[in-house]
Every structure is written in C-alpha cells, then in structure tokens.
Amino acid sequence: MKRVVLVIILACILSPLTAQAGGQYYSLSASFFPYLSIPHYQDDIPMRTAAGGEVSIGVLGFQKSHYDFSLEFRYRGTTASITHGFYRARGFDSVGADLRFAYQLREKLALFTTVGTEINFYRNVDSAFASFTTSFGVELLLIQSPIYTLDLIFPLTIHLRKEITALQPSVGLRYRIFPTWGGRQ
C-alpha cells in the first residue's frame, strides 16, 4: 500500500515536468446523484434508493488535440437509503481513484468515461468494503477562459460492489485550470 501511494505521489510530481507545454491541467469536479442499489442477494424490494455526492480532484491531467486523460482522486458520500420494512441500506463514505478519458465531439460537447476503485467505510459501524466504479457521460462547456474551463457534466456511474450493483445518474460541474496554457482546443 505504501509503495502504491509513493508511486502515485512521484507520478503526480514528475509528470507535469515532462508534459508538453499547454497540455497539462488540474481539475476539480463535484456532482450529486440518487444512488440506486440493486442487490444480488434476496431482498424485499428490487432496488433501494439513497442519495449522495462526490468530489474529485484531478492531479494529473493532460489534454492533447481532441483527447483528454486524467488521474483523479475521489471522495464519495452516500446516505442511508429510504427505510422499507425492517431494513435500509447503510450509508457509507468512499475514497478512491479514477482514470478518466474524454473525447471532444464538438466545440462544446465531449464524451467521457472513467474506471476506478475505492475503499468504502460504512457510517456508524466499523466495517469497510472494496469496490470498483465505472462511468460514462457527456460534458458541456459552460465557460472558457485562457486559463480555465467550467463544464456541466452528466455521468452515469455504475458502482460495482460484491453484493450490490448501484446506478448513479449524476449531475455536476467540472473545473479545470491550465497552469501553462489555456482552454480547450
């Protein structure tokens, strides 16, 4: 674990130094979503509904032509679900990392996809679990300046837990800052 963290830190520090001028950026994203969990085990109802939000920090982002690639660290908070009968799904907090790839279709429209993994901690009980996440969606350019961009994002995230598959149709904002060059090409 320590070695993984060390490699990530070194990559974050060294990669911008080798990046082509103009391609490197940092990003901050925030989104909100209903959290719709579909159990793999026998449950009273086919799906439980919660809500949540997530914040991602992109420490290693590069943009080249129509392509965009970044490594992001993410916090996700999910509430407990609505109570049904004697049960509700536990809320949890997650910390993880994603690889993000985007392709610019038009001047103000891009498609993106992510793959990632995280460790999740149930709230109120001392229990944790690992999971994987993938998402795809569209981003619409709202504001552009020489040094930053602001996009509206609509990711559909699939949270792959061992005993649950959850859908997160999200809406959010993504801010990118280009320290050496501005804007989307």
């Binding site: 009273d44 536990r90 229990s127 944790a128």
Partner: protein, 309 residues
C-alpha cells in the same frame, strides 16, 4: 439540449422506487433470556435479570400498537427457608434450559413469516468460544461436572444457534450481553470489520474476490469482541450490564420509572451500536488496560430498522 431536458424526467422515473409503496407491518417477537446463576456453582451475575426483564418491558412499550409478543426465560434463583439462594430447578416455569430455549425458538421460527422480526436477547455467562451457558435441566444447579470441566450439554454454541436459526423466514436480531459474544458476529462475505487494526486495503480487496455470499438473515449486536469479557458493575442496588445499561438508555428507558420516557423517532441496529459505543460506562479501547469492552455488530450493506416514525 433535448437530451438535457430528458435527464430530469429519467431521474424522476428512477426515483419512483419501490420504497414509496406501503407494506404491511410485520409481527415482532422478543425472546428474552437471562440467567443470574443463583444457586449454581458459577459466579453469580445479579444484573442479568434486570437486563432481561427491563429490555423485555422496554421493547413491549416501544412496539405498543404493533403486533408484538414477548416471552421471558429467566433463572432468578429462589430463597430457601434459611434465606439462602438455591437453584429453583430446570423444570420450573420459564427457566432457560437448553431444551426449553430450543423449543421456544423452534416454535417462533415456524410461527413467523417473511416480513416479521424475531428479537433474541441474552444476558448471562459466555464461554471463550462464545457458547452461551444455560440453566441445568435437573434440580441441582451443577454447571461443572465432577471432574471440574463444564457440562457441555448446557452450552449453546454459535454454530448450533446459527444452524437452528438458518431456516427462519423472519429477520432475526440477536443481542448478546455475555463474555466473548463477539464470536457470534461472524464476518460476512462482503465487508470486513475495522475494529481491530488490520490491513484494510488488502483485506477488503481479498474479501471482494472471495466466493462467500452475503446473508442478511441474522443481525447480531454483541457486548464485546470474540476475545474479551463483558462486565457489569460490582455493586449497587439496581445494576445492569454496561452494555445493556447503554442499550436500555438508547431505547429511551428510565430505570427509576420503569418506563420508556423518551420516544425516539428513529432506532436501528446501527444507531443502537453507535449510541452504546458513545454512552456505555466502560471504555471501548483496550490500549490502556483490560478494563474495557468493545461492542460489535454484523457487517454488510443493510441496517435493521426497529423504529422509524
């Protein structure tokens, strides 16, 4: 932009989930078990009877207005002519012998259905493997055999209890205030406990790739871990085990009035666990000595909700 307008509609459709549909409230049954071991050849536990009786009363008041049944199996001991405590005998009504407990649990398991809830509480001694020490069936209060070993026929072990409860269609909440009761909190297939120091990162991913399934049937709330004792105060007029004392407080129970004085709007197994962690009158951390106990709770994705007003 047409697609953007469709997004809120899609969101609203997804949010109209099954949870908003009304359901019938199920039956709730409480089987309370408490042993003081008065008249037996083991250490007497005076607080256990208060625990069993008052949890039973508290649950009856908590679920007033709902389909609720309560049953108490307690071993209080009896005073003889000289004012000394003696064992009342396993044949006395309501004494929690193993045979009687298995019979009563078997009865409720066949009587309850999907959507019902069976709450089992236990206050008494526990062995190092978690086994519950039950009342002798005979007239003598002998828990130890002549050779000095404990009579195995009086023990109700973890495997035996879980095997018994496995076919139960109703949900089961097992609340244990006994030494080593953390043995009943078995790690399920999807998550790991982080109470003890461990390699969370490695263990969580290893758990993800095992074949062990998640099974929600039995929720367990235990007073302590699998390797530690559970305590009660050494003296006092009206005592409770530290764990059960905090549990009663969480339910809104007031000992002096023998009534629920607080109407909690929401009570779940997770909430009870968190309340007990914060309010029990014994440390939860063993770094500075053996005077501690850390409650445990079943892992997994679900929280068992008792009250949601």
């Amino acid at each position: 932009m047409k697609h953007v307008r469709l997004f809120p509609l899609l969101l609203a459709a997804l949010l109209l989930s099954c949870e908003l549909l009304p359901i019938d409230e199920g039956t709730i049954v409480h089987v309370g078990i408490g042993l003081s071991y008065r008249g037996c050849d083991v250490q007497v536990l005076p607080a256990t009877i208060n625990d069993a009786v008052e949890v039973s009363l508290a649950l009856a008041q908590l679920f007033a207005g709902r389909a609720f049944s309560g049953e108490l199996l307690i071993q209080t001991g009896a005073l003889d002519d000289d004012g000394l405590w003696m064992y009342e005998g396993g044949s006395s009504d309501g004494v929690p012998t193993k045979e009687r407990i298995l019979e009563r649990l078997g009865h409720w398991m066949s009587a309850l259905h999907v959507g019902d809830l069976l709450i089992i509480t236990y206050s008494g001694h526990g062995m190092e493997d978690g086994s519950l020490v039950l009342a002798p069936p005979g007239e003598e209060g002998s828990i130890f055999l002549e050779g000095g070993s404990i009579d195995g026929s009086l023990l109700l072990g973890t495997d035996e209890l879980f095997t018994l409860l496995a076919p139960c269609k109703a949900s089961v909440l097992l609340i244990l205030d006994s030494c080593y009761s953390g043995n009943f909190v078995q790690e399920e297939g999807s998550s790991i406990s982080v109470v003890e120091r461990r390699d969370i990162f490695g263990d969580a991913y290893r758990r993800f790739f095992t074949n062990a399934p998640y099974n929600r049937r039995v929720f367990v709330l235990s007073a302590t871990s699998s390797d530690h004792t559970s305590s009660e105060p050494l003296g006092g007029d009206h005592t409770h085990g530290y764990f059960t004392g905090a549990l009663l407080e969480a339910l809104g129970w007031e000992c002096t009035q023998q009534a629920l004085v607080l109407k909690r709007l929401f009570i779940s197994s997770d909430w009870l666990y968190q309340y007990i962690l914060c309010h029990q009158r014994i440390p939860t951390d063993g770094r500075f000595g053996l005077w501690y106990q850390h409650p445990q709770i079943s892992g997994g994705p679900l929280d068992l909700v008792l009250v949601s007003r």
